[in-house]
Amino acid sequence: MASLDWPAIFLSLGGALLAVALNLVPGVGIAWLLARRKWPGKAVVETIVTLPLVMPPVATGLLLLELLGRRGWIGHWLRAVNIDIVFTWKAVVIAMAVMSFPFVVRNARVALEAVSTRVEQVAATLGASSWRVAWTVTLPLARRGIVAGAVMAFARALGEFGATILVAGNIPGSTTVISTSIYNDIMLGHDADADALIAVSIGLAFAAILASELLLRERQS
């Protein structure tokens, strides 16, 4: 009888949710800047945002480790205020957030670009401030694409392995997530446990991607 690694499932789900939540505001903000504004360095930012999508996740993980480790650029500041990131659940969330960020930005950008600037302009002539235009016109019209991107990001975060194992490690009950737990099971020859977790992750990924597809289809119709 296979046993499920529930702590890993909960950490994966909770971490992925938190990662997407952290990504939404900056992700949509950057997407808006990319979709609606011309500024120097735009192409560079665009590239940096896309990097985690194409870089080996392990490389991203190593970069994060060097940034957030006790002697890292950010890590030594955090150390000064007694915050440890590396090899804790926080590192899991950060690895997930970084790896899924491109999905949030790219989908939101496409959705924002699809909103007619004419409609926004007319809202302005009707007396609306930029904030009011964003809240009442742009974001509602781009909503489905943004949510679909968030769901894709969630699915990506659930499957995260390479960056997570480097920056958060693989500490059972503490930083082990679904993917690293599957890895442990295989290494230890617990094939039935691995299969059970694979079934869980397929189910979660299937549900997330299906939800995202349905949202996008509804927008098109």
């Binding site: 007619s116 409609v119 302009q121 002539t125 009707l126 609306a128």
Partner: protein, 235 residues
């Protein structure tokens, strides 16, 4: 004619195209007449503040809206200019009622609201979304939305383009009613001489970014041999 909108040496460059306008518009309905590509829509964008001119001054009712020299540029939301673009730009995610309420000044009475609804016969559409409306209904809702914001000036960009002949005939009386009852100074963009004559007292003729002539509609348009009107050939 009382001067209402003054465009003094307004110049906009868009790639190779250059728009240069020096004009004074009266406070009635004026037609902005010209072929496609004459710069009519660009001029409307300049007046609303959606496009910043490279030079010149724009003064409405004594208030400076734009002055290149002193870098004054009142943003669109503070200009009090109602704009109905060619594609209408109704908010597709909002109901007709929400569209109409969008620009209403806080505390504006229901009397004006119902008045506009009645004149434009759109009272039964309030719960609908724009998608569910016919072309003529969308047109009237967009016009009502602009009017309900209580604009000092209304800009209508080819409101009847894209509607079929019989529907145009049905919308013109609505526009005449709006003109006669609400008395909002209006710049009406069209390339139809018939529409200009039916709705406007004065006309500004624009061609290739330049103002060719300006005057009373009946001085600039003459009847055709067949029914309708055409631009008088000016010598």
């Amino acid at each position: 004619m009382t001067p209402f909108l003054e465009l003094r040496g307004v110049a906009v460059r868009l790639g190779r195209f250059r728009l240069e306008i020096d004009a004074v518009l009266s406070d009635g309905w004026s037609a902005l007449f010209g072929p496609s590509g004459a710069g009519k829509t660009t001029l409307l964008e300049v007046i609303t503040g959606l496009r910043r001119p490279d030079a010149g001054r724009i003064i409405m009712n004594g208030h400076m809206l734009f002055d290149a020299a002193s870098k004054k540029n009142v943003p669109p939301r503070r200009r009090g200019i109602g704009y109905v673009p060619q594609d209408l730009a109704l908010f597709p995610h909002l109901t007709v009622r929400q569209n109409l309420n969008y620009g209403r000044p806080p505390g504006d009475g229901d009397e004006f609201f119902t008045g506009v609804l009645e004149r434009l016969e759109i009272g039964s559409l309030l719960a609908q979304k724009p998608d569910a409306l016919s072309g003529g209904e969308k047109q009237r809702v967009a016009l009502a939305r602009a009017l309900l914001a209580r604009p000092a000036l209304l800009l209508l960009d080819e409101p009847l383009t894209g509607l079929d002949g019989p529907l145009r005939e049905r919308i013109i009386p609505f526009l005449q009613r709006v003109r006669d009852e609400f008395r909002v100074p209006t710049l009406y963009v069209t390339h139809s001489a018939d529409e200009a004559v039916a709705l406007c007292g004065r006309v500004v003729v624009l061609e290739a970014g330049r103002m060719m002539s300006e005057g009373a509609v009946h001085d600039l348009f003459v009847p055709r041999d067949s029914p309708g009107w055409r631009l008088r050939v000016l010598s």
